[in-house]
Amino acid sequence: MESIPLTWEEVARVHGRKIYNFAYRLTGNPDDAHDLVQEVLLRVHRGLSNYQPGSFEGWLWRITRNAFLDDVRRQKRRPTAPLPDEVDRWAHGATESADAEYARISLGDDIQKALLELPIDFREAVILCDVVGLSYEEIAKAVAVPIGTVRSRIHRGRKILKELLT
């Protein structure tokens, strides 16, 4: 049984990092991710009192993707790739060797750039699956499409990524 955060603070504390990671991988840069998370948390605050018990994850990710799509429509801008030294600098310890660190950042940068090449529908499906860790059913609820469509989008997204990364 899914536990449902009841307060805004709990939502921010429990889901803030996941929302940020989704936003970062979707937009490709920290500033847009920052703005998107703030917008999502604002919408959560407005909507939480009217939230009907059900799939909280579906509700939250629906808000998140709608905020992103609204932003894309409003700005009519194409997400840009991050600068290489902006990628992944927070999450790693100092024990990694310089070569391994360089290889990891380089690969991470390539993956991030490849993600941004995907059509938005494929990109969000792949990120929700592989970055956020949602099940196909949760993605289907968040995106409001049948599970078969989720399956198709993830596979086609991965096929494009394979072409871009090899």
Binding site: W8, E9, A12, R13, G16, R17, Y20, N21, Y24, R25, P30, H34, V37, Q38, L41, L42, H45, D88, W90, A91, H92, R104, L107, G108, I111, Q112, L115, V126, I127, C129, D130, V131, S135, Y136, R151, S152, I154, H155, R158, K159, L161, K162, L165, T166
Partner: protein, 135 residues
Amino acid sequence: MTHPTEQISAYLDGELHGHELTQLMDHLSRCGNCTAELEQMQFVRSAVRSLPVLELPAGLVSEADPVVVALPRHKGMWAGVAAAVVIAAIALAAIVTPPADEVDLQRLNSLVGARSTLDPAFGPAKVSVSPLVSE
């Protein structure tokens, strides 16, 4: 032969069950192309999943906190109140402060020069000096 390619990703994600799973396993045992695709999809899936988890930037949540977001309005209100209090205090000080000693310009002029006698418009005058800010 129909290649169940979309089932490959679903299989890797643990989202394939029952008859579909059996079918795919059977197909993979006979199809080199799909086995190769399985390996490729596994590589891509692992690559995306290897992206490190980013920490939430410090302050992001508190910046988005509805209570904090509402603060600037309160700050403005309190700043206005504080300014009003200071102005009132200054005005009150001006009212209750005893008049400073009057300065006799004529006497002053006699001490520092004779300008008041040379300039008719600059006749003797008395001014009251009340410091605006008392120590």
